[in-house]
Amino acid sequence: MRVSFSKLSLLAACSLAWCGTGAYAATDNIPDLDGVWTFGNCGGGGAFNIRCMVLEENDELLTDRAIAYRDAIDEIAQPKYDCAPMPIPHMYTDPYSYKIEQLDDRVLIYYGKDDVVRTIWLEGHGHRTPKMNEFFYFGYASGRYEDGALVVTTDRFTFDPQGLNADFRIPSSTQKQVTERFSKDGDTLVLEVSTIDTFFLKEPWTFRVTSQPDSRAWEGSWECDLEASRQILKLMPPMYPNDPAVKRVDYR
């Protein structure tokens, strides 16, 4: 079984509302999600089981359009070689812990890779919603507490050439919508994710994973190095050898 989820950079988030903070009050309806969590496990034994989160290269969920795109685009064109973060929900397949911080009007989710900070804007607090022409790399995420779970809906994504799977060149469109449900089962964090994108998925893509409290020190800073990100490109022969050589921008 699989599902999926989303993120928004703090910078982008702060452009939509003030960045103040406040304490949150736990109640029966609000699960205590605060803390650092191990990366998700699909279950079935072993500490490293992420297969349920992987949208496969020839997955039956893929549309013909997705397959055509996969076959046409080359690996070197993926934004990951420019230090671009993994999109959601594909990000969850990266074996890094993540941190959740619950505030009274929002929830912050920090991922242990790529310096990702997503802001979940809780409903009912007057947060400004995106204008019709505003799209975001991690989408716009709004959330609510419901039946003891945090339910997050994220949409308004930019088109992303690695948006559904960065390893198999499966993109996502502006129509991607990710719903995440965070709940607790004892001390275990349960994450259920569902992704729809009717351009590239025939049906919703869903998964369910569990995480445990992670007592190891939180690695707060990622600091992607552009040269290291591109190092492996040296070993990739061009898929389109007759095209002019790609000259990547040096952002530094």
């Binding site: 500490a47 074996p95 890094y96 390893d167 290291a228 190092q231 492996i232």
Partner: protein
């Protein structure tokens, strides 16, 4: 700088870097997954940095010096730290022995340390890191 050996993947090498890291900097199709090659070379650069630390070594091969990129797959700094690697694990100019899956493309040289491949060794055969725990 000296020997190069092709070793059948199913022989030798204990699974020190035991779990294949799920690498978004995709290694699919880049390396010969069914081969392990061992080289002895001189460290040219060691960059202990995200997203993926990498090592560059000069290897004498077929009468010329070839620059090999040595990759630890999808492992990041935090993963290698848990195995005992630091930014001082390798020194420029030192001779080391590295085994890994060789790169497929012609005219470029690379090794992937992943799966059943062990950590690099010093010239005397001792491991560059003491066997650590899981990278995860």
């Amino acid at each position: 700088m000296k020997s190069i050996k092709l070793v059948p993947a199913l022989l030798s090498f204990v699974a020190l870097v035991s779990t294949t890291v799920y690498a978004h900097h995709s290694t699919r199709g880049i390396y010969h997954d069914d081969q392990i090659k061992e080289v002895t070379g001189v460290v040219k650069a060691w960059r202990f940095i995200n997203p993926h630390p990498y090592l560059t070594i000069d290897v004498e091969e077929d009468g010329e010096i070839r620059e090999y990129d040595v990759s630890f797959g999808g492992a990041a700094v935090v993963h290698l730290q848990r195995r005992g690697y630091t930014d001082a694990t390798f020194s420029v100019g030192e001779t080391i022995i590295v085994a890994g899956h060789p790169a497929r493309a012609a005219g470029v040289y690379g090794l992937l340390i992943e799966g059943q491949v062990g950590d690099p060794k010093r010239e005397d055969g001792s491991p560059v890191v003491q066997a650590g725990g899981s990278m995860f």
